[in-house]
Amino acid sequence: MALSLTEAGRASGLAHAEDSEARADPAAFVRRDAGGRDTLELLVQGAKCAACIRKIERGLLALPGVSDARLNLSTSRLRVAWSPGSVAPKRITDALAQMGYGASAFDPVAAARQVDEEGRRLLRYLAVAGFAAMNIMMFSVPVWSGDGEMGEGTRTLLHWISALIAIPAALYAAQPFFRSAWRALRVRRANMDVPISLAVFLTLGISIAETLQQGAHAYFDGITMLLSFLLIGRYLDHRLREQARTAARDLLALQSVTASRIGADGRVVAIGAGEIAVGDRLILAAGDRAPVDGVVIEGVSELDRSMLTGETIPQAVRVGDAIHAGVINLSQKLVMRAMARARDSSVAELARLIEAGEQGRARFVRLAEKAAALYVPVVHSLALATFLAWTFGPSLLRLAGVEFADVGLRVALTNAIAVLIVTCPCALGLAVPAVQVVATGRLFKRGVLVKSGDALERLAEVDVAVFDKTGTLTLGRPRLVSAAAPDMLQAAAALARVSRHPLSRALVEAAGQGVAAKDAREIPGEGIESGQMRLGRRSFAAPECDDAADGAAELRFSNGVAAPVRFAFVDTLRADAAQTVAALRVRGITVELISGDRPVAAEAAAREAGIEHWSGGASPSDKTARLAALRAEGRKPLMIGDGLNDAAALASAHASASPGTALEASQAASDVVLQGAQLMPLVEAIDVARMARARALENLRFSALYNIVAAPLAAAGFLTPLIAALAMSGSSLIVTLNALRLQLRWSRT
């Protein structure tokens, strides 16, 4: 279950600053606990086994002053506590790095350690129901096996003891169903919990009546067992959501930026992004992402705005220019004044778009809800029909001349309730969650985070995939594509080595090892100069040349002697982009590219990835409009994107996915988050979703078949408590095993 988070929390944009500098100083995240100790929560990467636990915990406890270090392997979280002042927080992350584990401090605001209250409550209900079911079985088995031999008095005694356990236990453990049913009924709707609640009350009632009359048919065992099974389904469903929620929160907490605030005394302090107040002066080093909206008050640099717009060409900024949260500072240190808090930054308009998109998605009806909509009326009318048939049937038969004795109201009522009990959606309640838990658990291990069960259902239905370009289909990292004379390339690279600009870095990468020009000087927004040699914008390095027609990102280089050289760059495609597109097509999914970048850039990427339909220069509302058009055609689009400009489209698509490097808003709007640098897991996620859907449908069909067989038996009055207990546990077991079959299929491949 260990997360592969190595790629997460990284700006997908052009900047790839040195890790040591980009790594947040954990000091901002230290908290004082109740015992007066300083504590820090870290997300540790790569810890997967017993040896890791031991190495990390022992290693940290060896540091002076550290009194507690505990690694949670399920969540990859490490909690360290030490006496204040004895050890610098940075030493802890350094110690971990020395041991070979990357560690990121948590933003305690984003990753508030929430105890899973709901999960615990469900477990308590489950424990009580299970306890009651097992103990009542202790009395039921003698009743069943002693049938005919056991005296009526003994049987009634055993029934009374069962009642004493079952009544409080059932009323307590069925609370989640009562609450949900009540909520549904109040808005005049019926969900699966309405028949469950009804069955609980009726079963308890009829069993008490039966016991009072010293009868043989008490269903105390059945009702508690039924509740146990239903609660297992409920708990699985809850765990699925909780796990996805926690993982998603961790992923975002990893991304959370620290900021360097200049205090009134001129000292620089590391603080969490959540603590930034309006008016704070913040240092934005090269490679840093702006944590909030603000204005430049010092410095000249260039910004990578690809997260916001998809545009890969950097934008120059100087004093007075606005900076939006999410952009990355590329070349020179900037000082900015915060104009908004992190929470309020750049997202007001976006939030509105996302909300509008999500309304469309709310219309989606889950498989289980569809089943319930069919199931509830059928079962209730069947129970009513049973009652009417047993009440009026005999006299009607006599009218028709058939000899048939009256059976009385009690038998009619018992049989009608028996129908409700035996058809109680025990297997139905497990049918879908069991499958989804297995499927998402499997995907989780492969680094695909599925946010909810219905996300899986929607993913199974998609028939068209719409990709964003920058940061999604591509890495958002430029690559040199034009040929140049080796000596010119080397000379240009010598200049480029002094710069952190993404294009310079791409040039250095292409040139390979070499030395940096000694006296080179970087002029922000223009280029690099060293004596006669100039590398940079056309206007700076080669003003005599014309603009190139292709519009690609470029650098010009002149050595003052020969004709200037042009270096053209394109954005690097993800290694498996073309493979993913082909694989999607094989699965009957058409693929489109829609980018906010210039059309030429979009076209080049589309060609390389093998995508036929593409469009560039798209604004966020163009993207949502395209998705709306696809939906109007009756298609089910899957949107894959990472930028802030994709968030609205992600929310309005039928299903959506984003890479782990995507911005917070985009991940929040996505159903599926892919961790790691690859796109192929998306194809696997679709495969799994389709298989899970097939399995869930099988389970639902089986449940229907079970009800078709069991309901008439109950209606005819053949149902005994023993048969009810066997039928219910048997059907639950079968659907669970069928769900596990999903896991088997994978182990083989």
Binding site: M1, C49, A50, I53, R54, L71, N72, L73, S74, T75, R120, L123, R124, A127, V128, F131, M134, N135, M138, T154, I161, I165
Partner: protein
Amino acid sequence: MNVMIVLIPIALFMAAVGLAAFFWSLRSGQYEDLEGAAHRVLIPDEDDIAG
């Protein structure tokens, strides 16, 4: 059959102890890290290493 008068309360009491134990384990956070617990059993105690 009179023995049931004694046996039934004993059986119920034992089951209730089990239920209480479960609640205790739930409250003391033993279900927080199921995966880690599976591995921790393999870690030798500090003082065992010498012997």
